[in-house]
């Protein structure tokens, strides 16, 4: 097992030690799922086929959102708070003394966390939702596989965005304000608040082109089978493209930040 795999495994285990937090989180996701699902039922009853979804697809979208909420770290709770704090206190200097790539290190740690949150916080809401509502389920292993790949790409994009937010702390000294803006942006532009297909005109175009749509909108549409063939490849290429661009930006900013960090603190 290589170093980076070991980091992911340790991170997975680390989150797994907080069982009470997991139970509480899964409970909250389930309750919110119930509330939002009923809201959507009322909405789609009034406006059928809103955003191109039928009622069952809309409700499935809700539960997918609750299942992916923690894994995608849409409301925070990922590595970014820890890294932000290390930058603020100067502890990040310790990380820089190590013979490892800072971004890759945190990516692996966040993948471990996301893996745990996908299972610990994702399964229960979906099972409860599945018992109470008529949810769509992908047919055939190929679609399931495509969905999992899309979720993985979404997690990487989510990581890369939060990494940039955390790095801003090098310049702002306290990155908590930027983190809050990051969370609000993610909730809105990922489709967590409402599916992005609902937004009309240029706002919809813009929302669907921004990287945040890779976190929920794209994986949900892959799950619901709204992309087929070339379009499916295109959707994933969209996610992968953003992942590459954002990670490259993160790499460049890390180099700039390291030259800067050292000024702070004895």
């Amino acid at each position: 097992m290589g170093l980076y795999a070991a980091i992911a495994v340790r991170s997975f285990r680390r989150y797994a030690t907080y069982r009470a937090a997991t139970v509480a989180g899964a409970f909250t996701n389930t309750v919110f799922g119930l509330i939002v699902a009923h809201t959507y039922l009322a909405l789609w009853d009034e406006r059928p086929a809103l955003g191109g979804y039928d009622v069952a697809q809309a409700v499935t979208f809700v539960w997918l959102g609750q299942a992916l909420l923690a894994a995608m770290s849409l409301l925070g709770g990922g590595f970014e708070e820890e890294l932000g704090e290390r930058i603020r206190t100067g502890d990040v200097a310790v990380d820089l003394y190590r013979p490892v790539n800072l971004q890759l290190w945190w990516l692996c740690a966040d993948l471990g966390r996301a893996g745990y949150h996908l299972l610990g916080r994702g399964l229960v809401p979906v099972l409860v939702g599945g018992c109470l509502f008529d949810l769509r389920v992908p047919t055939g292993p190929a679609r399931w596989f495509a969905f999992l790949v899309s979720v993985l790409l979404g997690i990487v994009v989510s990581f890369a965005l939060r990494y940039l937010v955390a790095l801003s702390g090098f310049w702002l000294l306290d990155g908590s304000g930027v983190r809050t803006v990051g969370v609000l942006t993610a909730v809105f532009f990922s489709g967590m608040l409402l599916p992005l297909t609902l937004f009309p005109g240029w706002l919809g175009e813009l929302a669907r082109a921004l990287p945040w749509s890779a976190l929920l909108q794209v994986p949900a549409d892959v799950y619901l089978g709204r992309h087929a063939g070339g379009e499916l490849v295109g959707a994933m290429a969209f996610q992968a493209g953003w992942a590459v661009v954002l990670l490259a930006t993160g790499q460049a900013l890390t180099a700039m930040a390291t030259r800067r960090v050292v000024v702070q603190g004895g």
Binding site: L3, D91, P99, V100, G266
Partner: protein, 355 residues
Amino acid sequence: MDPTPPPDHPTGDTAFPVPPPRASSSGAATSGGMTGGELIRVENVVKTFTVRTRAGRFRREKTEVRAVDGIDFTVRGGEVVGYIGPNGAGKSTTIKMLTGILVPSSGRLRVAGLDPARERTRLARRIGVVFGQRTTLWWDLPLRDSYALMRRMYRVPRDRYRENLDRCVELLDLADLLDRPVRQLSLGQRMRGDIAAALLHDPRVLYLDEPTIGLDVVSKARVRSFLRAVNTEQGTTVLLTTHDMTDIEQLCSRVMVIDHGRLVHDGDLRGLRLGGHSERTLVVDLERELPPIRLEGARTLRVEGPRQWLAFPATASAAPLVAEIAARFPLVDLSIREPAIEDVIARMYADRAVG
């Protein structure tokens, strides 16, 4: 920058001569293993920072601060060097340049055959760093897991790792702590854990930044004896910054003092005591209470019953004073006290601040 070879050390008479390249003499090294070869070379290194300060409502003024102002030194394999100075003197800046996370504004650095800033990642495998105030361990993980990650990070062969870990566990008494999450460790336990973590990959140089800060007397003693053992048995070179003068007295064969970005002393402890204007103290026990003793070359500090304290310059010999006292007064007992190193250094800083 000046391309000529480094000048001599700008400090006192006990300064170490700069050895010619690849010098193999090991005269000054403490002892043990891989002594002799030059491991660290710092040539005329300067580091300036631009600090922006407010000047008026919108205007900002840029001022240049010289954190390190042209320092030169070399450290040979196996040495234990104390690097001391008041807060803000440039200690941490030097260490950061030596580890490569800070690029010098001018001058040349060489550590274990590498250019630190340019080959930071490669250098990281050859050095160990311990911060007294920060931890390299993972808060939520058992100590053992942190070490396992270190092994992978530094690609330490499994048997070498076993050997190193076993030695650290034994000497630092970590056996009962290995399965505890780091957040449950006391400061002293965590510090021991951190020192072990820095040594698992057999670093050639160990940088310690205030390793005994906040520790109780027992923990301090344990850390010191461990560092001494690592130095003598593995030949690990140690560069230590500290405010605890006992660390220096018990560990370091050589002390470098930095103040305002310049080296003001580079030599052994004795030289540090002799330099400056420090004084030794003669404690004289007489047969009975007498008026203060007056002698040429000494001054009376205190009289308490039959006991008197006399101060004389550290550079002067005690013999003529002792002879004179014995001849002229009814002497019962007599002892000489060396100046406390704290006082010497405090006086050194004070002198420089005035000068």
